[in-house]
């Protein structure tokens, strides 16, 4: 029985009822949209929620995630975020909701105040001086680290993302006013907010993680030199031998590189986890590549590194992921999402750092390219460029 189902049952025991069963109370299947915030120490992180009889949606600008229908009891409302064992609980006051976001922490509950009111956020585009790519330096305790910040104006207003050496942090959405801006990413697990101000040619601000962590940064316009390490520089590999793997699929069949399915094929090995939001961004791209190139000799195999280590639990998660994206290639349960444990199952890789990581094998089964991380759709042009690079790599390998 899943944890989510158990939680639903315990809520029902307390008198909580799924909205979908309250036909007398909910007359219209239409979604009601709320302007929502979680209140961080450094200010409100804005996002949108839509609540309906059959489902809910949590949106950062143009990107929305579907959630189960809210549960209601009297004037209380409870929204489950099953992917992250998290909840939003609130009390309804007229057109407003006031409550808190919760998930289970290691040292006590992780609780962040939540509030929402009916309506939609105004679209507040950013000045042209902000739009584009910026090379940022984060500074904390005299240590520095690099990020790239991207800003653009979209129909929903200011959108962008934060990029590190191993990928992007998902879509950020927010607002700008004069020379200042604030944009956030709240997906039920990650709580990130970027605030800043244009100061001459320099952008300065704070990166907020969770309710209290604040990291100062300064950024200048990106030039032609790369600011971050290239994704292909992060992980090196033993290219002298055939890439070995031997892992079971969720149905219990063990697959190895010797399976006839992979013989004399170009193989893309996708190291992923069903818990990894960036992997969810990558999955539709991989299925499109598979549809396009399979008949010409491309195979894909996904190696899942999961949360529990229990084959029964992890197998179900992988089956759900396979169904969600309509994946036709094998997904194998390779281990748990611990960097050392994952690296131990892949001794031919050195410097394994990122989920997802894509390994391209030639028709001889040897590693030709390792690409750490993935640029999701929130990266705009970089996302398209990455797809083009993957296609070029596959075309080149298929031709040999």
């Amino acid at each position: 029985m899943t944890r989510t189902l158990l939680r639903h049952m315990s809520l029902l025991a307390l008198g909580w009822i799924p909205v979908s069963t309250l036909s007398a109370q909910v007359n219209s299947p239409a979604m009601v949209t709320y302007r929502a915030v979680v209140d961080l120490a450094g200010g409100p992180l804005r996002f949108s929620m839509s609540l309906g009889a059959d489902s809910s949606r949590l949106c950062n600008g143009s990107h929305c995630d579907r959630l189960p229908a809210p549960m209601v009891s009297g004037d209380s409302i409870h929204i489950n975020i099953p992917d992250y064992a998290a909840t939003i609980s609130a009390v309804q006051r007229h057109d407003s909701l006031i409550g808190a976001y919760h998930n289970v922490g290691n040292r006590g509950p992780r609780v962040i105040p939540f509030r929402a009111s009916r309506g939609t956020w105004p679209v507040e585009p950013a000045p042209s001086g902000l739009i584009g790519r910026w090379n940022a330096t984060y500074t904390q305790d005299e240590k520095t680290s690099r990020r790239v910040l991207e800003f653009r104006n979209a129909p929903a207003g200011l959108e962008g993302t934060v990029i590190s050496n191993t990928g992007d942090y998902g879509l950020f959405w927010g607002r700008a006013e004069a020379d200042s801006f604030s944009m956030g990413h709240f997906d039920g697990s990650f709580v990130y907010m970027l605030t800043g101000r244009l100061d001459g040619d320099t952008l300065r601000g704070i990166f907020h993680a969770g309710i209290r962590t604040q990291t100062p940064w300064a950024a200048v316009r990106a030039g032609s030199e790369p600011w971050l390490k290239q994704p292909t520089e992060l992980t090196s590999a033993d290219t002298s031998e055939v890439f070995h793997f031997s892992f079971p699929d969720p149905e219990g069949k063990t697959w190895t590189e010797k399976d006839p399915r992979f013989r004399n094929k170009v193989v893309l090995v996708d190291i992923f986890g069903t818990w990894c939001p960036t992997c969810h961004d990558a999955a539709p791209v991989l299925t499109r590549l598979y549809d396009r190139y399979h008949s010409r000799g491309l195979e894909i195999v996904g190696l899942a590194y999961e949360v529990s280590g229990d084959p029964a639990i992890d197998g179900k998660q992988v089956q759900l992921y396979r169904a969600k994206f309509g994946i036709q290639f094998p997904l194998l349960i390779a281990g748990i999402n611990d960097t050392e444990a994952a690296a131990a199952t892949l001794p031919q890789l050195q410097g394994f750092v990122s989920f997802p990581t894509s390994i391209f094998l030639g028709r001889d089964g040897k590693i030709r390219l390792v690409h750490a991380g993935f640029y999701g759709p929130s990266m705009g042009a970089a996302h398209q460029q990455l797809i083009a690079e993957f296609e070029k790599t596959i075309e080149t390998l298929l031709a040999h």
């Binding site: 609780v111 969770g210 280590g309």
Partner: protein, 275 residues
Amino acid sequence: MRLILLGLLIISGTLSAQVPASLVEERSAFAAWLTTAPNSPLIARAFAPIGDGIHIGPDEANVPFPGVDARIREEHGVISLSGSLGARTLPRNRLVTSGPLALFISGTPGHSVVTVYGGPRLEKVPTYFPLDRSLVFTGPMLPVSPRTIRILTIDGLETDATEVGSVAVPDGASSIRLRVYRIVDPGSEEAELTIYFRDGTSGKGSYPAGRFVTLEPVSNGNYRLDMNRARNPFCAYSSAYPCPAPWSGNTLTTRIEAGERYDHEPSSPQKQSRP
């Protein structure tokens, strides 16, 4: 020093016995977590370095637990579980439930620690001093050149922490500068500015080894220190946990009658009886 003290505004406001809603919610969520969470300190059975291996089993095992016969080993940084709880790899910094137990691996390769949870829950409820709004301070932090040391966190884990500065608070007729450390939560970008302090109530109404409180950034580079949010280390709930040593210099002479109280000796994890 006087300037610093002037910079530290004591929020006196209107004194009221009413605890703010956010503090009520915070305490109620913590009480619920203690009574329901699979990693609650009230069901902590053991906190053990894995070293050459850990045996969870009958009375003579490293971690006695009736009805279980399992081993935890580390090899090349990878932690594995075998025996009656099944064979699997255990991730770091993530709770894994297995049969009647929950296991949490922390530390770094070669210095891994397992916390074992399960069995009967200790019956303890956190208690608090009445709200004292005069013990909410707002002011600047005086930075120091960052210095990294090894400390124990509120749950007994050994970790690197960076000393980032100090805050001055009144201490009777004088003042004291309390050291502030940044403690990063493993596996996330989130960190807390933390103060571990002792005061006149330590061992006389509050936990003898001291209490933890976090420093919250507010506007204009200032920070809020709310002593009503002071928490006991987990060793106050169960002797399964190692107890952090007090931080040198962080001892107030006055009684800070705010935050979590401590009225009893810490309980030993209850001996398991055979079913």
